[in-house]
């Protein structure tokens, strides 16, 4: 029957959502009156649904990493990227020194309580590193909003200095997070990370409070 033949031809496109609306209507009308084609269509839909539902992960029969690692030639093989950490900490020291030369203004917008740079000391005693990380990120977001709201009030040069320093600190945080990922629980790195976050908050706090047109 021609209607059945046409319908079978359209079914795949219909399942994929690619069939023209007028043909979709004709197909649906035919399926309502033809149990054989309806069963065919149901089978097709079941197959497509089952395929989409297959596990996205399968486990190899062996660990493939040693074979891969042996082929990664021509790159540094040192386990600890010591140089990166040294550079990251050096960047923090530079930013910290720069901040110490700035006179903290006494007027400016009120900051949210969580944006207090003293949170490092408080959290060192009681919270996990993850908690501290989260709280710093929240504080950073709040302060960024304040700084962005005031961006029209300060000179472009000052804004540039702030952005450069923020980028430096971001890079330092990235470096330390990466090394921590490879060596969790490394106490000195935890402290460097907290120092980096603290510098960032300090800088943002200063930027949020500075007088207009510096």
């Amino acid at each position: 029957m021609k209607q059945c033949k046409d319908s079978r031809r359209w079914m795949n496109d219909a399942v994929d959502g690619d069939l023209r609306p007028d043909l979709t209507e004709r197909l649906e009308a035919h399926l309502d009156s033809c149990p054989e084609c309806r069963r065919h269509m149901d089978d097709l839909r079941s197959l497509v649904t089952a395929a989409a539902g297959l596990s996205s992960e399968l486990v190899p029969s062996r660990d493939l990493w040693p074979g891969i690692e042996g082929r990664l030639t021509g790159v540094p093989s040192s386990r600890w990227p010591v140089r990166s950490v040294v550079l990251a900490v050096a960047a923090l020291v530079v930013v910290g020194f720069g901040l110490s030369l700035l006179r903290a203004p006494t007027t400016g917008p009120q900051l949210a309580p969580s944006a207090d740079p003293g949170i490092v000391q408080a959290h060192n005693r009681t919270a996990t590193l993850d908690d501290v990380r989260l709280e710093y990120r929240q504080a950073r977001d709040e302060l960024m909003e304040v700084v962005q709201a005031r961006s029209g009030e300060v000179s472009p040069e000052t804004l540039q200095v702030i952005e450069n320093n923020l980028a430096l600190i971001d890079r330092a945080i990235d470096e330390i997070e990466m090394v921590l990922a490879a060596s969790p629980g490394e106490g000195r790195l935890d402290r460097h990370l907290l120092l980096a976050y603290n510098r960032q908050i300090e800088l943002l706090r200063w930027a949020a409070r500075m007088p207009s047109r510096i």
């Binding site: 795949n12 089978d43 097709l44 197959l47 497509v48 089952a50 395929a51 989409a52 539902g53 297959l54 596990s55 996205s56 992960e57 399968l58 486990v59 190899p60 029969s61 062996r62 660990d63 493939l64 990493w65 074979g67 891969i68 690692e69 082929r71 990664l72 790159v75 540094p76 093989s77 386990r79 990227p81 990166s84 993850d130 990380r133 990235d174 997070e177 990466m178 921590l180 990922a181 490879a182 969790p184």
Partner: protein, 190 residues
């Protein structure tokens, strides 16, 4: 004692809370430890793709390794416009489709030869139904072109246009392979 793949995998610690972006940055600077973490995170998905595309367990393991070696080599070209996993998937597809054996190996395997296909080891085997295993075996028994398009389209969710770009086949050819694959699978699974 012989370890199961699941046991072996459970011993590998992937640090929580470190996103791919940071790991990729480190790996781009030559840090193989960071790249290993990326491997641990993505290897099961890459292996699943290779396994289904080529239909052969041993070849899939070789191609999975090849994928990560190619990814390492080409990491400098990864700019982060797409997610790392998406980019890696493309590398895997290219590695499989570029391999001469991928289509030759099972082109002559008919649907009734399914009993010869090796069993699968899924990441969460307890959640896998016998219907799922039947389907896996049936997919492995498809002819190369039909299998590749079925896996890319119906399992991985690529569109025909994307499959056309990846494989070099026309959109119409991709559709024809898909329809053939679905017809063969329905016949086998009926």
């Amino acid at each position: 004692m012989v370890e199961s793949p699941e046991m072996r995998d459970a011993q590998v610690q992937v640090p929580a809370g470190v996103d791919d972006r940071l790991l990729v940055k480190r790996a781009q600077r030559g840090d193989t430890r960071a790249f290993e973490v990326l491997y641990r995170t993505h290897s099961k998905r890459v292996y699943a793709l290779c396994r289904r595309l080529c239909g052969d367990m041993t070849l899939a393991e070789d191609l999975c390794q090849e994928t990560f070696v190619r990814a390492w080599t080409g990491l400098a070209s990864f700019r982060g416009k797409a997610a790392f996993g998406t980019w890696l998937h493309r590398v895997a597809v290219n590695a499989v489709l570029g391999h001469r054996r991928w289509s030759d190996s099972r082109e002559d395997l008919r649907a009734e030869d399914l009993s010869t296909v090796e069993p699968y080891s899924a990441a969460k085997s307890e959640t896998r139904s016998s219907h799922g295993l039947d389907l896996e075996r049936a997919i492995a028994g498809l002819p190369g072109g039909a299998r590749a398009v079925f896996v890319l389209h119906d399992v991985e969710g690529y569109r025909h246009r994307e499959i056309s770009e990846m494989t070099g086949m026309a959109v119409g050819t991709s559709k024809a392979h898909l329809h053939r694959a679905r017809r063969l699978l329905r016949e086998v699974l009926r």
